[in-house]
Structures are given as C-alpha cells and as structure tokens.
Amino acid sequence: MSQYVLRRLLIAVPSLLGISLVLYIVLALAPGDPFSELATNPNVPPEVAAALRAKFGLDDPIYLRYLHWLAAMVQGDWGFSFVSRMNVDTLILQRLPTTLYVIGSAQILALLIAIPVGVYAATRPYSIFDQIANTFAFIGFSLPTFFTGLLFILVFSITLDWLPFVYSSDIKATGIRWLFEQIRQAIMPVMVLGLFQAASMTRFVRSAMLDVIRLDYVTTARAKGLGQPRVIVKHAMRNAMIPVVTLVALQMPAVFGGAIVTEQIFRIPGIGSLLISSILSNDTPVVMAVTFVFACLVVLFNLIADILYGWLDPRISFR
C-alpha cells in the first residue's frame, strides 16, 4: 500500500504543475490591475502606479513571472500580497481557523442529518417519512445559499432580532459566554451551508442505500436471523458508504477553501472572502496561493478517498 501511495504522490506532481501553470496564465491574462484604485486618486500621479507595477514585477513577461513564482513556492515562499504587503501564508493562516470552524461545523451538521435520514428513508422507501424527506431535500438543494442566507437574516436578525448577522472573528467575552457568543453568531451561516449540503447528501445516501439493501447478501444476513439494526449498520451501510465517501472527500477541500457566497453575506473572515476580495483587487499572489492550495487539497483528498475504499471494501486492491 505504501508503494501505491508513493506512486500516487509522484503522479500528483506533474498534475499540480500543470494546474499551477494554467492558473497562473489565466490570472495573468485576466484584465485588471492591483493598483487600479490609485488611478482614480488625484493625489497619486500615474507614474507612481506605474513604478509600483514595475517594482512588484507586474510588467515582466508571463513566463518569467511564473518561473519566479514557482521557484519561490518550491522554497516555501508564498510571496506577499500586493494589496496588504503582508506575507500570503500569514494572511491565509489568519483566516483558516474561522473557515475550519464554520464550514467544518456545516459539513458535520450535513453528515449528521444526511446519513440517518437517508438510511432511514431507504429502509422504508415511499413511506410518508421518505416522501417528506425527499420533498425537503428537493427544496433544500433548489434554494441557493445566497437566497436562504438573506432569508435567514430577514427572519432571525431583522424580524425576530435573535441572532447577529455580522460575524466577528474574535469575541471579547471569555469562558462560557465566549462559547455562547461563538455558537450564536455561527448558527445562521452553519445552518445555511449545512442544510444545503445535507439536502443533496440525503438524496445520495438514500439512493446508495437503496442499491445495496436489495442485494442478496443483505437478504442472507436477514435470513441468518440478524436484527434489523445490525443488518443495516453492519452489512448494508458499510457498502453503501463507498460513494458517500467519495462525495465527502471531494467536499473536504471546500472546508478549507471556504464558502465564497455565504462568507460574503455574513461577513465571515474566512478563506472564501479572502479569495473573492483578492480576485476583485487583482491581488495575484493571494489568488494564486489560495487556488493552488485548493488544488493540492483536491488531489490529496482524492488519494485519501481511494485509501478509504480499501478499508471499507477489502475487495478493492491497491495496484
């Protein structure tokens, strides 16, 4: 297995290189300028913006800029943001805890809802429970997060005045009060994201479960006289989880990458809002770093998913 992992890691290198090259070129070709804001500032003569461009190497040819970036990246230097003149890694690390907390909680919430509901619905297909679960699932993934987000704000913040809708990255309280505030302000974004995820995942779990539950070995297990819970959890679910694992694994990078829309609506200072503001201000080093880390995570979690398959179903071998 270690050989398999090593081989997969080696294959990942050229694909990551390819990804970084494409990303860099697309970003370089995209119109815009990190110093465009200076252009409308009458205090700043246009030469100043031009001098800054030259100093930050923006006037070099694309291939040179890419090679510089790559060389620095290999040495662990992620460069610095043109906009805040701060090191990119510091900037990202500062944003990471919030993103992990909010998006991570949302993912956990989604799993906690999706698996039991999906499994239960699959064991009783077309029952009332299944119908209701299906209806909600359809509503859930048909409503975009920017809509539910605004709806939640209108209902819970403005009409009922229960929850704040501006997220604060560090609350000044301590102890139990801190915890309470931390949970209170995360309720809305976590709900918005979690319910959206849960909706599509429920459908997924249900259909995977339905596929498995009709198979002969499940009938065999029942024939042996095993109880329903044992059959479902031990026999059916384990196999049904394989496609679910793929889905979850592919969503894990999103936990680190943040949720751009939701973060913007609730002013959550996560990676997603960093990415969108950097894109808008053409802050190439930050955009490059965030998207590249994202690419690495996708590759990594794909590998993890493949390894998990082997554990879930020993018949899958690593070759």
Partner: protein, 675 residues
C-alpha cells in the same frame, strides 16, 4: 466590483439635506449674533458694486491685506476702515466668523468670498466651530464602525485606497485635517500657518509648521520635528514604494528646531496644505520605521501594528476583516477621545451595512453607503439609525472625446492627430448637454445623495462658478441640430455629409451609472441621436493596464462617464488634469489624465496663472474662469454633484467632512444618551 467604484458618494446634494447635516449633526446650536454687528451694518452703507467680486477681487485682496498687515495705517478709505475694524473684531474674538460672513452676505458677497477676505485679512484659516460636548475622557463605551471594504494595510504611505487611509488614520495623525466645511483643523500642529504668524512666506515658496509640544507616541516616545522630516525622506525614496511619493518628491522638509519644520516648494504654491495634512498626510514614527526605509519597507513589523499619536491605541488588525483599538489615556486633546474601544469591521456589501446600522443597530456607523435612496428611506422608517451626508466636490460627469476613437493612427486610436468627426461640431456637443436630464437622474437615482449642477468644479464654495447654467430640452437640442445641418435620415437618425449621428457611450459597471446611461440614451433617441451603451467592469475601466483597450484612459468611445474624487478642499490637482500637456496618448502610455484630449490655450493659461497666483481671491477667480471655459467648450457634461452618504446610529454624533476621510475627525465623535 469594489476596487474602482468611486468611493465617495459625493456631490452637492439638495440644500435641505446638507443643512440637515450641518445643523443637526455638526452645529446643533447656532450662536446668536452679537448686536454690535447690526449696528455696524446700519452705519456703513457699503454698496454692492464696491464688492463686485471677479473684477475687484484682486484689488480688494491687496487692499485688505495692506489694511490689516500694515502697522501704521494712514489714509485708508472708509471701506478699508470699516472692513479692518470688522476683521480686527473677528481677530480679537469680539465678532464671530459667522457674524462677519453674514454681514458680508448682506453686501451681496458670497459666504466663501467673505471667508476668503478674512483669510487674506490675516485671520488664520480658522478652525470651524467645535461641537464636541463630552467633558471627560472616555466613558463612551465601544464604537463599532462598519467599512464594507475592510482596510487591508495600516501604513498611510502604502494606502492604495481610501479604506486603507481610513484605517491608518485611527492611529496615525497628520499635522492638520479638514472639518465638515473644508476649514482646517489642527491636530499635531500648534497653530495654522498664516502670513501673520510668519508661517507662510509672502511669495508662497514655503510654509513653516509649529508642532504641538508634549505629544507622545503610543509607546511613550516624544513626537518631534525629526518624525516629520523622516516621513518626507521615507515617502520620497522610490525604493520604499510609497503611494505618497507624489506629494513629497517636489518639496524639501527641514527641521528648524525640535518643534518647528519648514516645507520649501520648488515654485510658488498657493495651496500649501498638501503634505502632512489629512489622512494621506498621517505621520509615522521615525524610531520604529527608520530601519525600514527603502527596499526593506515591507518588512517593518509596525506596518501591521501601528504606533501612532492618535486618540486610539492599536490592539489588533486582521487585513480585510477587523481593526481594534482602545482609548489612548495620554491623548493630546482635552476630554478626548469619548469612546473606550473602537472596532472597524470590514467585508460584505453596502446594503447589508446600511441594514446593520440603520435597521438592527448592530453597528454605529456604516461607511460609504452607496445604496439607492428609496431603499435607505425604507430602512430609516422606525429604524435605529439614519443616513448623514457630507458635501464635497465630487462630480459625476460625461466626458466628450475630442479625438476620433474609430481611426487608428500609428497604432493608436483616439490619437491626438485626429479630430472627432461628430463631436468636433460645437452644435452637437451643445445639443448633447441639453439631452442629459440631470433633474431626472437626481430624482430617479441619487435622491438625497446628489445635487444637480451646471459646473464641473463644485467645491469648495469659493471656487464654484455662478456664471453657468444648464437646461434639459429635447426640442431645443433638436432645433440646434437642425440649424447645424444635422437632418434626420430615413431611419430617424440624424446625419450630415454622410456621417450618421451615432455615439458610443461607455462607463463602469455600477447600478446608478447604468441607469443614468439609460436616461441619457432615451432622450438622445428622441432627438435623433443613436447612442450605443457599453459598460466595462470597474476594475478594468479604472485600471492603468496598458494592454487593455477598455480603460477610461484609452477612451475608445465617444462619450464616457465616471467621476474623479476631489480629495482636498482645493481645485488645483483637479483642474490641472485638463491642461493640454496632460493629454493621454500612446507616447505617455496613456498616463496622461486629460482623457477627453481637449486642448484649449486659454484654459492652459488660466491654470498656469492660477498655480502661480498667491493672491487667493484672484486665484479663485482663475479657477472659476477655467471651469467656465470648460463648460463653454462642453468638454464635460456634469451629471450630478454627489454627496458622501454614511449610515449612523441615532445616538452617534459623527463629524464627517466631504473633504476628508471619514475617520479624519474621529477625535470629535461622541455619543449622546438620547437620539
């Protein structure tokens, strides 16, 4: 989307909302005039003719200066005596400025003219009335500010946008700043330089600032002239890569003594309050940045943790997210600051920022609320906050291209070697200016945040022309075009000599701008002009990217609409842009800022003269003349004089100036127990 939207929602809003701000927010109580003023009015029948401003401004200025500066005043006229008495009374504090200005108004002088007379008469560019009420330091609780574009860095010399200046200004301070009326307000300086106190040289070549004694940096080190001189050295070094280099490279700053600095200019500079004034002029401490001048500038640890002299001490900063500060117990102004802690939160959008301040009250102040007026009115109903407006000089305008955008000469479109086939006809330009329904734009789009104007230069008051007018009339425009030979063709579009009256009208993507485009297009259609609309993403439109054809500098269109913010209460920078030497061409990589590529020798002469003119009245007259030439030639069609719009909790008493950053007067902000 965010970067290039002009930050200010500026302009001259309707008088009602302006007075609303000034009266209720800035000047809660009007002082009553001393009765003596009235007596003087009665006793001296000055005639209006004596003050005919544009003609006699210069002589008046000289006479007044003579009158007030000369110790032995002999042979003065009645007028001089009377004025001198009044100016002296103002100087001695027996008459207040407002009283003087109102008296002058009675003689048919405008208020700014009167203010100007005071300035020339040797009364320093006085500080506006302070309305700060708290009688002790602190006790105001937390002040929560919501900036929907969060500051990304805290070094004023690196501030790429006003948001960064706003953030830096919480901790760093300049020598002086601008109040709501564009008057100078002292911060780190002990007195406003004037001819009287020797701070200004008569030839306009230098200015000497006296610094406030006893000011300390947040780490306890004293603030001295060395710090000021260091900021100049730091900023002017190209290796430091500051954005403030433009202000500092053409001046010389020297230390006279520990609390005095002298700035020397290369040529006479009537507007001397550029360096070290306002948020961009904030001063950073020498002892923490000296090692990081030049190429190492980015490595300074204090770039992210400012140690300033301001009312609040730095606590925490997360770029684009939040800035926190706490009360500075050693602040150099009495009873200030009012708030115990300060928080500036970034991110989100303007509408939800307005909501968080006006509707739910989660925050006390929301910056730059560019939201449609009817939305704001709805939020304000029964809400916890309101909108406040500040008048500056920002004007949204349509620029007309004087060169041909469709002919390429030496690889350059809109080249100076071409002439616009349609817009070079003055009748077409005139007709276009009659087809912009400014009243409708105000009513439908800007509401309380805009004022209609016939001028390009809309502030400060003393520079605003009274000689111009505007009208909207499709019939008159049609008639004008008919007379000029533009006859409607078979398709209803006018044409002359085989040229069809078709125009391309571009602007940045931004709700109000697209709506304005639609209003203009509709009127043009009725007059037989075919207008094609184009909107470009703001980050492209306002970029200096040489390779992109859609930038506002390239101007590959017939008309384009945008605004240039006016960042200080002086028109010099603003008007200099349209000097013919500044046309944008391929040769200067489109860095020239005269985008219409308009050349007018009379205008050039007026600007050159104004820049060297130290007589303030004559200088103002020159800028008014420059504006009038522009409006006569119809280089620009002013669409709207825009006001700054901020959201504010009912109990908060902010001081916001249209001439400065929102946080420039933060030391004067306080909260009242009741709304």
């Amino acid at each position: 989307m965010q970067s290039a939207i002009p930050r200010r929602f500026d302009a001259s809003g309707p008088p009602d909302c302006q007075s609303d701000v000034r009266r209720s927010v800035f000047l809660p109580k009007q002082k009553s005039q001393p009765p003596s003023i009235l007596l003087i009015v009665d006793s001296q029948p000055l005639t209006f003719e004596a003050f005919n401003v544009p003609l006699t401004g210069e002589q008046l200025g000289r006479r007044l200066r003579r009158a007030s500066n000369t110790k032995n005043r002999t042979g003065t006229t009645m007028l001089d005596t009377e004025l001198r008495t009044m100016i002296d009374e103002v100087k001695d504090g027996r008459m207040d400025r407002r009283g003087f200005v109102q008296r002058m108004l009675a003689f048919g002088l405008t208020a700014p003219m009167a203010t100007q007379i005071l300035a020339i008469g040797g009364v320093a560019m006085a500080e506006g009335p302070s309305v700060y009420k708290p009688t002790k330091r602190g006790g105001g609780g937390a002040l929560k500010l919501l900036w929907w574009q969060g500051p990304t860095l805290l070094n004023p010399h690196f501030a790429t946008g006003t948001k960064d200046q706003d953030g830096s200004r919480l901790f760093y301070e300049p020598l002086a700043c601008w109040d709501a009326d564009g008057n100078m307000k002292l911060v780190l300086a002990a007195e406003i330089p004037s001819l009287e106190n020797g701070g200004l040289s008569a030839d306009g070549m230098s200015v000497t600032w006296k610094l406030k004694p006893g000011v300390k940096w947040h780490d306890g080190k004293p603030f001295t002239a060395d710090d000021v001189v260091f900021n100049w050295e730091y900023a002017r070094d190209p290796a430091t890569a500051t954005v403030t280099i433009g202000v500092h490279r053409d001046i010389t700053v020297e230390k006279v003594d520990d609390l005095t600095v002298r700035i020397t200019f290369k040529k006479p500079t009537p507007f001397w309050a550029d360096a070290f004034v306002g948020a961009p002029g904030s001063i950073i401490p020498k002892h923490l940045f000296a090692e990081y001048k030049g190429a190492k500038s980015r490595e300074a640890p204090n770039n992210l943790s400012p140690v300033g002299t301001g009312p609040y001490k730095f606590v925490e900063f997360k770029p684009g997210d939040v800035i926190r500060g706490e009360l500075n117990p050693d602040y150099h102004m009495p009873n200030r600051p009012h708030f115990d802690t300060i928080e500036m939160k970034g991110g989100g959008d303007a509408v939800s920022a307005a909501r968080a301040v006006i509707q739910t009250g989660e925050y006390d102040f929301g910056w730059n609320i560019q939201v449609e007026d009817d939305v704001l009115l709805r939020l304000e109903k029964g809400g916890k906050g309101k909108t406040v407006y500040a008048v500056g000089g920002d004007t949204e305008f349509i620029a007309l291209n004087f060169t041909d955008p469709n002919t390429e000469v030496d690889g350059e479109r809109s080249s100076m070697k071409t002439k616009h086939p349609l817009l070079s006809d003055p009748a077409v330009r005139k007709a276009l200016s009659m087809l912009v329904d400014r009243e409708a734009v105000k009513k439908v789009i800007y509401g309380r945040a805009g004022r209609v104007t016939p001028n390009f230069l809309n502030g400060p008051e003393k520079f605003v022309s009274k000689n111009t007018s505007w009208e909207f009339s499709i019939e008159k425009a049609s008639k004008l075009l008919d007379e000029a030979g533009w006859k409607p063709g078979a398709d209803g579009i006018r044409e002359k000599d085989g040229k069809k009256l078709k125009l391309l009208y571009q602007t940045a993507i931004n709700g109000p701008r697209q709506k304005t485009q639609a209003i203009v297009k509709q009127a043009c259609q009725k007059a037989g002009i075919d207008v094609e609309l184009k909107s470009v993403v703001a980050s492209v439109f306002f970029s200096s990217d040489v390779a992109n054809p859609d930038t506002y500098a390239k101007f590959y269109a017939d008309l384009e609409m945008f605004q240039i913010p006016m960042s200080q209460p002086d028109p010099a920078q603003h008007m200099r842009r349209y000097h013919s030497r500044n046309v944008a061409t391929k040769e200067n990589k489109w860095q020239g800022v005269n985008f219409p590529r308009w050349v007018n020798k009379v205008y050039d002469a007026a600007i050159d003269a104004a820049e060297a003119e130290t007589d303030l009245v004559k200088r103002a007259a020159l800028y008014i003349k420059a504006n009038d030439i522009m409006m006569q030639d119809i280089v620009f069609i002013p669409v709207m004089h825009r006001l700054k719009v901020e959201a504010c909790a009912n109990t908060l008493r902010p001081v916001v100036s249209g001439w400065a950053n929102e946080t420039d007067n933060l030391f004067d902000w306080y909260r009242e127990a009741t709304g």
